[in-house]
């Protein structure tokens, strides 16, 4: 298991190019390459597997977005970057839960990534806002909106899926839902 993980570690250049080209395979390799490192860090610092998963995914998303935004400069090894980001996130979480964070057992070098993490937090807030707005929407609006905007279904598909007599009805329903969603979303 460990061996197969290690053998498939992609080079840093591969990762960046792969993500820019939306390569699923690269993302897969990247994810598997450094998961063990973060898991070890979290497990040894008052966390469990679920914490590790959350933190690691957040870290990968930060890296992904940064690469996608095109302003990623490889000033260190990717491994160090991921480790630093995950470490930062985990420390914040520990702090938030006022758990003991006195003695952090480190396994890798660390460098400052506060800016990236904070930037991500802002983005994440918007994400959470949208998520909760959708949750407040209720069925069938939530599914209609998700199908149209996220899964990119056509109005025709939606009409069939929900059994509307014609697309106009479906459209009307969708706009009603959209109105409500926007109302919830733009609520201060």
């Amino acid at each position: 298991m460990n061996n197969s993980l290690k053998s498939s570690v992609p080079t840093d250049r591969e990762v960046i190019l792969g993500i820019l080209n939306n390569s699923e395979d690269t993302l897969n390799k990247l994810y598997k390459a450094y998961y063990a490192m973060v898991l070890q860090f979290i497990l040894n610092n008052n966390g469990d597997e679920d914490d590790a998963k959350d933190v690691y995914q957040e870290g990968i998303i930060i890296l992904y977005n940064k690469i996608k935004a095109g302003n990623f400069e490889l000033s260190s090894k990717l491994k160090t970057y991921i480790y630093s980001v995950c470490r930062r996130i985990w420390l914040k979480k520990l702090n938030l839960n006022s758990k003991k964070a006195g003695n952090i057992t480190d396994y890798e070098d660390v460098f400052a990534v506060e800016e990236d993490v904070e930037h991500h937090e802002e983005k994440d807030a918007a994400f959470v806002k949208m998520q909760s707005a959708l949750d407040h929407l209720g069925e069938p609006c939530k599914t209609i909106i998700q199908d149209f905007y996220i899964h990119n279904l056509s109005m025709q598909d939606i009409c069939e899926k929900f059994g509307y007599t014609n697309t106009d009805n479906a459209k009307t329903q969708k706009y009603k839902c959209l109105q409500r969603l926007k109302k919830i979303f733009f609520q201060p």
């Binding site: 993302l27 998961y35 898991l39 998963k53 995914q57 109105q179 926007k182």
Partner: protein, 361 residues
């Protein structure tokens, strides 16, 4: 509703050119419409980002499900044994506790040790009172004991101490404990020449011995530069000594710090000169080159407390020797010291020839 549909189509680029132009016209004329467009645009962007992040998260979850989390976690988890885990987590606490225990042990030990010392001290003071009550003889015993403890014993093949000339024809004065029990005695001057000597007079009471150079190669010395100081020296008077604690002559400087010596011995001064084994028998001189005493020992536990036999007893010892044999050019009281008014370096230059290393075999 109609408007919203148009706005969305406009933003998604689904309107044809004519409709777009018409809509933009409307947007320019009506601020409400424009506002709606902007807000919907923002909403759509948010939705886009949301969708993208959601897809990414799904993807990651999918990848995550492929990893054998349990297996990895078991391998990487902190040690399963609770005790080891406890130890690892609380290393620092344990370390603090351990150092505290060590510290308290040390302090307990030192307290015990201290009280032991106090006991010793009491014992010594009792001894002191006994000394006061008993005869003079006992004082000597104690003195002999302290001298016995000091490492200035006659070690075969080692030099024993220091001595200095009291007459030009080869009489040398030193401590008795330097030469006591010696098989044969030699003196060596600063030039490295050795002469055989024999002991001609010993004064066990004052720890003084007088030796005579019996070597036929000895040619005699020129006039003795120093004189004996008859009066008692004052506390604070600067004094110095020359001696052979090593193979070469060594200067030790200090001042008279007390008019009595070891446990109140009035035949000695206490001087603040750092002396070492081998300094015994060395001359103690003041700034004007007057002989104040003979270095005889130091106290074990106290720093910077050396003892010197008062010069008065040198005179007594010299009187015990047939005056004729000492010759004309001997150490005297009334003569003027040749060292008076000279700088310390000049004084030592002149003195060097008269201070000898005593070698005991």
């Amino acid at each position: 509703m109609e408007l919203d549909a148009i706005i969305e189509d406009y933003l998604l680029g689904k309107l044809n050119a004519q409709e777009t132009e018409a809509f933009e016209q409307l947007r320019r004329n009506d601020a409400t419409v424009d506002h709606k467009v902007v807000s919907h645009k923002f909403f759509l962007e948010s939705m886009g980002t949301f969708a993208e992040q959601l897809r990414l998260k799904e993807q990651l979850n999918h990848i995550h499900s492929e990893i054998d989390v349990e297996g990895l976690a078991d391998a990487l988890r902190p040690h399963p044994s609770k005790i080891v885990q406890l130890w690892r987590k609380n290393k620092s606490v344990v370390a603090v506790a351990a150092s505290f225990i060590v510290l308290s042990l040390v302090s307990i030990y030192s307290i015990q040790h201290n009280s032991k010392q106090e006991a010793n001290y009491e014992k010594m003071s009792r001894e002191l009172s006994r000394v006061k009550q008993s005869q003079n003889n006992l004082v000597l015993d104690i003195k002999a004991n302290t001298q016995h403890n000091s490492p200035k014993k006659a070690n075969p093949g080692n030099f024993g101490g220091t001595g200095f000339a009291v007459s030009t024809n080869g009489y040398i004065l030193t401590n008795l404990h330097v030469v006591n029990g010696a098989d044969s005695l030699y003196v060596q001057n600063s030039k490295g020449e050795s002469f055989k000597v024999k002991s001609v007079y010993t004064d066990p009471q004052n720890d003084i011995a007088i030796l005579k150079i019996s070597d036929k190669h000895f040619n005699g010395l020129s006039t003795i530069p120093y004189t004996i100081k008859k009066s008692i020296s004052n506390i604070g008077e600067n004094v110095y000594t020359l001696g052979y604690p090593k193979d070469d002559i060594v200067l030790g400087e200090g001042s008279v710090s007390s008019r009595s010596g070891f446990i109140g011995d009035t035949t000695q001064y206490q001087v603040s000169i750092l002396v070492n084994p081998g300094n015994s028998g060395g001359p103690l001189l003041d700034n004007n080159g007057n002989l104040v005493g003979i270095i005889s020992g130091k106290q074990d536990q106290t720093e910077g407390a050396a003892f010197a036999i008062k010069s008065k007893y040198i005179l007594e010892a010299m009187r015990a020797i047939p005056q004729d044999s000492l010759g004309v050019n001997r150490l005297g009281i009334n003569k003027k010291s040749l060292l008076a008014g000279l700088k310390r370096t000049k004084q030592i230059e002149k003195l060097e020839d008269y201070v000898f290393m005593i070698k005991v075999y």
